[in-house]
């Protein structure tokens, strides 16, 4: 389906330099910025983890999920339920528990959706996410339309997540760990099979690979990693509501992956930062005359999305790569 689109699996040196500089910048950022911007960047890192988890499906395996936010939200809710009313939950129980909850849900939903292809997959993932949305939206016991508060950040014993800076570096560490894990996965035999499924699933089947199992594993893993991001989101904001599982966030994640450049995880990170920054700028636009341009941020965002799809289908990383190298690394 998306086989024709070029995938920068091997990152050219120019891109690697940019990424290394980015990591240095992220590590130094809390020392040079205000709390407001540090927590904004922490949120961007969380969404970058979320975008990377989607990239495993979208960029690597060629499965376009429009319901990925469901797994993001589920683990946040799991944290809310695991946090007692009287005090914090232990991070070392809550984190694996919440991630497992998302992974389990992804396994269950994946069992149904992975047997569909192309356009069906898009519609069905969206529909299942909506089902999860209604499960929480309709039930008062699950928070209903108001959502749930998480009054205490999980207790990590070794460090204190209540401290903004500690939370920032914890998130950065998770981001780096997930990136390293996924890059390693991309070049493992498992990752190669997923890439093979993207390029030609029939051929992979003919070669004897049980593609259903591989796709289901990818879907489950992606769901669990989305849960990791959702867990961090819940810790940071202390609040979960059903809207976080809606299809707007799912579509934003698709956009982040496209914007950065898909199939290599680095693009997902770049895309998440760029998307959130653009969103922030649009919401901050001043009023011109009687017309409040910032209030109508959705208009600019809509135009921005349409423009990116038309003008830069290879994403920002693709642009960086072709800027620094004369020879085209793939067809656009």
């Amino acid at each position: 389906m998306s086989a024709a689109k070029s995938h920068l699996e091997v990152l050219p040196p120019s891109v690697q330099v940019v990424l290394a500089l980015g990591l240095v910048a992220l590590a130094a950022f809390p020392f040079v910025s205000t709390d407001f911007y540090a927590s904004m960047v922490a949120r961007m890192m969380i969404l970058a983890i979320f975008a990377m988890s989607l990239d495993l499906l979208q960029g690597v395996t060629g499965l376009v999920s429009l319901g990925h936010a469901a797994f993001f939200g589920l683990s946040g809710y799991a944290l809310a339920f695991m946090t007692p009313a009287s005090g914090p939950a232990s991070l070392w129980w809550a984190l694996p528990g919440a991630v497992a909850a998302s992974g389990l849900a992804a396994l269950l939903i994946g069992f149904f959706v992975v047997r569909t292809h192309g356009i069906y997959f898009i519609m069905v993932t969206m529909a299942f996410a909506q089902m999860v949305f209604y499960l929480f939206f309709d039930n008062k016991a699950l928070g209903g339309s108001d959502g749930l508060y998480i009054d205490f950040r999980p207790d990590a014993k070794l460090f204190d997540l209540e401290d903004r800076r500690v939370f920032y570096y914890f998130t950065l560490a998770v981001l780096v760990a997930v990136y390293a894990f996924l890059r390693r996965l991309l070049w493992s035999p498992f990752g190669r099979v997923l890439a093979g499924i993207r390029v030609n699933e029939h051929r992979m089947r003919a070669m004897g690979y049980g593609t259903f199992g591989y796709k289901l594993s990818a879907f489950t893993l992606a769901g669990a990693l989305a849960g990791l991001a959702g867990f961090l989101w819940a810790v940071q904001t202390g609040y979960m509501n059903p809207e976080l599982m809606g299809f707007h966030l799912s579509a934003h994640a698709i956009m982040m992956v496209i914007l950065g450049g898909m199939g290599n995880f680095a693009g997902a990170i770049v895309g998440a930062f760029a998307f959130e920054w653009v969103l922030h700028e649009f919401k901050d636009l001043p009023a011109i005359g009687g017309f409040n341009t910032g209030k109508h941020w959705q208009l600019w965002m809509g135009l921005f999305i349409v423009a990116v799809v038309i003008l830069a289908p290879r994403g920002l990383l693709g642009m960086v790569a072709s800027l620094f190298s004369r020879k085209e690394s793939g067809r656009g």
């Binding site: 389906m1 356009i119 898009i122 579509a251 959705q298 208009l299 999305i305």
Partner: protein, 287 residues
């Protein structure tokens, strides 16, 4: 459940199912023939409802508002197809998803700038404001019957158009084998434009006739969009007949679910979809 209650729910479910069909028919045709997944289809429903409210308050007559609105919608559909969608027929689904998602934002803000963010009610026309008594305490509004009648008339018209006219023959030929149809002299570009405008028109009319009973509010398109997707998935992509049967089924499950199992009613339709997927991954009437 008394018989009168049962009858009311049955009529409601048919009416709701037919309304969903109006959206799903366009979605399934646009996908089946042009291969485009259109997330902005729900926005046409929303724009239709606002258009009906705005035109009705201008001319004071819902029927005229709907007639004018339908023409505006078809013209808008033709324009949109020419400027944007035509260039996405051969792009992959990912690009289509994002482009049409961007359109959702654009259409919502267009609505916000033109008509504001308020919720509006649209009065039921006096001629149809009656209700039919079913028992001492219960009655059924005539307007809902009228809605069902309009949907049935349009569905019949669509059926006749596709199966009995020369244009319909060309549409079917284009869906079956695009290149062959083109080689035989069918202007496939014009067929695409017609089908797209038809889909936009149906979704807009659905929004306009639904306006008096559902009221008019921002983002009203997203819920019907997702339910229309479910209808299309259950019915099988590209099949109008499948969309009709599955829309009625979804209407039935959703309406009776709300009465009988209120705690899980929001999820029932999706469980139905899951069950169908297990049984027939390509939908009930995949062509």
């Amino acid at each position: 459940m008394t018989f009168a209650t049962f009858l009311i729910q049955l009529l409601n479910s048919v009416q709701y199912g037919l309304l969903l069909f109006m959206l799903a028919a366009g979605l399934t045709l646009i996908f089946g023939i042009m291969g485009v997944v259109n997330l902005a289809h729900g926005s046409f429903y929303m724009l239709g409802a606002y258009l009906a409210w705005w035109l009705a308050s201008l001319v004071g007559n819902l029927a005229i508002a709907i007639a004018v609105g339908a023409l505006v919608a078809v013209a808008f559909g033709l324009l949109l197809e020419r400027l944007l969608f035509r260039h996405f027929y051969h792009r992959d689904h990912l690009d289509q998803v994002l482009m049409t998602f961007g359109l959702i934002y654009i259409f919502e803000e267009m609505r916000s700038i033109l008509w504001g963010d308020d919720v509006h009610g649209v009065p039921v026309p006096a001629l149809l404001a009656d209700s039919i008594a079913l028992s001492d305490a219960q009655s059924y509004p005539v307007y809902r019957l009228f809605m069902s009648a309009v949907c049935i008339a349009l569905a019949t018209g669509l059926y006749l158009l596709i199966s009995r006219t020369r244009l319909g023959m060309k549409i079917r030929a284009g869906a079956f084998n695009r290149d062959m149809a083109e080689a035989l002299g069918v202007n496939i570009r014009r067929i695409h434009a017609v089908v797209f405008a038809l889909g936009v028109g149906l979704a807009t009319i659905a929004g306009m006739i639904a306006a008096p009973i559902s009221s008019v509010y921002p983002n009203m398109g997203s819920q019907v969009l997702i339910l229309s997707f479910v209808v299309v998935v259950i019915g099988g992509i590209g099949s109008v007949r499948g969309a009709l049967i599955s829309a009625l089924l979804v209407g039935l499950v959703d309406t009776f679910g709300k009465v009988l199992l209120p705690a899980v009613s929001g999820m029932l339709v999706y469980m139905l979809m899951a069950a169908v997927l297990l049984w027939k991954p390509e939908g009930l009437f995949k062509q």
